[in-house]
Symmetry: C2
Subunit: 344 residues, 2 copies
Amino acid sequence: MSDLAERVLRGEPRAAARALRQVDDRAPGYLDLLKEVFPHTGRAYVVGVTGNPGAGKSTLVDRLIEGFRKEGATVGVIAVDPTSPYSGGAILGDRIRMQRHATDPNVFIRSVATRGHLGGLSRSTRDMVRLLDAWASAGEGKGVVLVETVGVGQDELEVTRTAHTTLVVMAPGMGDEVQALKAGIMETADVFCVNKADKDGADGCVRDIELVIALGKETMVKMGKGRGHVVHGEAAGLGGAAADGANWSPPVVKCVATRGEGIAPLLEALAKHRAWVEASVEGRARRRARLAEEVRESLREALIDAAVHDLREELDAAVAEVDARAVDPYTATERLVMRFRAQP
Amino acid sequence: MSDLAERVLRGEPRAAARALRQVDDRAPGYLDLLKEVFPHTGRAYVVGVTGNPGAGKSTLVDRLIEGFRKEGATVGVIAVDPTSPYSGGAILGDRIRMQRHATDPNVFIRSVATRGHLGGLSRSTRDMVRLLDAWASAGEGKGVVLVETVGVGQDELEVTRTAHTTLVVMAPGMGDEVQALKAGIMETADVFCVNKADKDGADGCVRDIELVIALGKETMVKMGKGRGHVVHGEAAGLGGAAADGANWSPPVVKCVATRGEGIAPLLEALAKHRAWVEASVEGRARRRARLAEEVRESLREALIDAAVHDLREELDAAVAEVDARAVDPYTATERLVMRFRAQP
């Protein structure tokens, strides 16, 4: 095993930082590192935190860090901004947060930005979550990994699919509830938090979300072909899918993160969902389905990489032919697949 | 050639409607249809129209339809909403618009929603654009295809990459300018329209956009790894890349679509960009690069489909092994690629 992997597994924050950078940059050797670390993953509790800017996610995440630390856990945080064109560097807010926890070797926070490729962000986030999983669970320790996203677009939801639990943070009066259904949050949300619950409209916000959850149950049955369903093969085990004992219905928890109110019940809701995911047949089926997705996604990327490697000239020739309309792109693709498949 | 393809190529609107449905649903025979139609594509002028909800895109598109019709063109419109969980059906606004043009056999409007898969939306949109391209260019006619998207997320921008020209519509006072840089619009925009130019702040909006364009030129040079760049291999030929004679710098046109003001200059700006794309070395290089992207995307999908077909059992076994942490997902993927590559 490499020195770096060993140090990550011993829980050294600086090793985690270096390993994350290596994975984020896909620097030489990053795959070996991931392979070495993988057998030691799967022990940390991974929570995805998503919600519109302004909902108070960062403050809430800070409170969650505090809460998990009190329980004795080591906490890793990855803050993802898929819309940022800048990569690598920590954002200002992130630096401030890092300073606050700078003296605590059991908290590690890192920002990541876009990787600029369909599926690439969720892949590299997943890899980074694995690293932090291994780091946070070092020794006999309890580990927690929080994945915070900037917005609630499709990319962000993909990112939270790596988590055991997806926590959706909302705030009163932002019109988030309507957006929620649109962006496909209902298929992904496991726990809702209405933050800034001391503001006007908080109870209305809770009611709206509960209504949307109830509607979601009906709509999903009717639709049968929503984004999260057909593609990910998850008709069962979804948060809002049904209210019977076997399935999970997302609770809505009110918080005032700035004052630390409601954090205990929120942690409780998260723990309950974690138990459900880990213990119930449906929860385990969901995790298995997500793993299947991952392998498939990873296979998809590996196949195209291998094909581009093997068939560079044929690919260029095909594009030229399609450009000249000598062949259609569908036939050209079929021929390329045949060529690749036949490769010894 | 199939009867349906022939009728599309004769410019029959009902045939276009049926063909689009077949492609949208990926119904049996849709690929043959696309293959038959392909040699007759590439003649229509394809414009992507994007911008935040509330910028007045639909009204503007209506004006553009009018303008292109006056020039004697046949106009096909595809309105794409990647965030909608409902697919197939026309939205209310769309029906209203369709009614307005119902008596005109040279205008065809169709709504499409999500296909629920990464890359899937841009693929099926591209296929539908091809069909409308062939339909709109029937006989000796001039053809125009407008692709209108609901928002300005990454999915939407992917969709507009099928176009010759991407028109970004903004309105004063919406704070769009700042969003623009974030969402990667600058890499994609060829022409900007500031709609509702009779409102306060229109000139400020124009200035902001021009500033962002100027900044964009600098930033792009510095970044070198923005979303649109590394991935799509398009350092040259981008809208905002440089201001010298060879490259295109996006003009900003003020309009009041509700009153039809500024439409003529906008059409002129579009025509100018079309000429640039078709005549300049850089424009042609960009088109070639986008075609290369398409073939590659199409190959990526075809490869994973073929691999899932060939290796269904191996894939399931791999997932089970990864789940048991008997093997890591990276090694499992490599083995699957080797198996597929070796397939006779």
